[in-house]
Symmetry: C3
Subunit: 174 residues, 3 copies
């Protein structure tokens, strides 16, 4: 919705829409990069001085090289071998000139290895998956000469504790 005194040309409006769709793709590429351990890709979409903050439970890498190293670690590849799916919901995205942010929900699912097989007609047989984590995420972005990049991502588990709710409130701005 246009704000008072904020008259944009058609070209500027189209540019903002393109920004929005580019950021949708950036968020949509995160699960594929995480689930394949694509560290080169990861390094290409964060800025030099970016921060990935997963809370006190995890290391807090700074800079694209350190952040990408998380994707190529032995431990991460062990998770991939066992089966892991990051699953992104519909993001809230707000563009403000050359910066932007998004609030997203993310599930991490893993295939069950024990327990009975379960059949669903026309949909095969499976032990099922369980939802390991659900998190609230805030992504900050900056426009660069090579397109939109991630400057910071902060996530907290949606387990009833307050920090996740603090993140979610970012999607309720007027």
């Amino acid at each position: 919705m246009a704000e008072a005194g904020d008259v944009k040309t058609l070209e500027q409006r189209v540019r903002i829409i393109e920004d929005r769709l580019e950021i949708y793709n950036l968020i949509a590429s995160h699960p594929p990069s995480a689930d394949t351990g694509a560290s080169d890709y990861t390094a290409s979409v964060w800025t030099e001085d970016s921060v990935f903050d997963r809370g006190a439970e995890f290391a807090r890498p700074t800079g694209r090289t350190a952040i990408a190293a998380g994707s190529s670690s032995l431990e991460h590849h062990r998770a991939i071998e066992q089966g892991i799916a990051h699953f992104a919901g519909l993001p809230y995205v707000k563009i403000s000139g050359d910066t932007a942010f998004a609030i997203t929900y993310l599930q991490i699912l893993v295939p069950d290895r024990v327990g009975p097989l379960f059949d669903v007609p026309n949909h095969g047989s499976s032990r099922g998956f369980h939802v390991h984590r659900v998190s609230a995420n805030r992504w900050d972005f900056a426009r660069t000469m090579e397109g939109w990049k991630i400057t910071r991502r902060t996530l907290r588990p949606l387990d009833g504790s307050a920090p996740a709710r603090e993140i979610l409130r970012g999607a309720l701005e007027p």
Copy 2:
């Protein structure tokens, strides 16, 4: 896809795209508002005479004040303290001038409080979450002087009963 006899100016086409993206953000803000109990926000995105219909199992509030009261109730805040995550999938959205509707899927997940902790390499330890409900949702919207607002939301559980399927068929219009 443009329909026969329906020639739009570039400005009109951009306006429809902006409408679509504004509605995406409106749908994306629903889980954050529900999971934080943001009743002021909720009151701001429904119209005066709106209806929130969750089926016979629940109360059926009418009007933004009554709908927002659901978010500030003691019972709702008990759910938030225990941990709750609304999780929205990709919506189907159709704009028709100054009205629009969307068909969406929504999960409600809650953290498990009992049972063993489960480790996933590089992804921490958790008792996991379980999916409490999955629903089919129809949202009706109207353009107002303050942007797009919700005029009606109807949801039904995807538990094999017919009413949810009736809602979903709205996404299959030609």
Copy 3:
């Protein structure tokens, strides 16, 4: 992001955006069509010579008539009666002129029929749902005189096996 030497008119840029949003709706309509067994709709969104490849575990129908027949089969309707929800995450979408592709994650959830009822304050009572399958999907699209249609869809389970990861890498193209 515009590439060097790739100067587009505003109309062309708006057209690409409209393409993108049309494809979002096409992907968003898949769960409603699957969960209602809407074979007429299904026949209308695939091309004549399209292929639906769900892996060696399932039949591999070719052509819109055969693909739509899957939605009207007795077995599929048995799944619908028992309760089934396809749930689509945020897609990665790339348009290239008159073709396009998308990489998506899809969950299949089914309501639990046994076990205790579980209450969540203000969110009713339920036995819950379990996640039967999570898959990586590649969709190929073509522009036709009747809008964008699906030419091929390939899906593989995200159970730790390699083929799903091969699909996901399609979302990491530069």
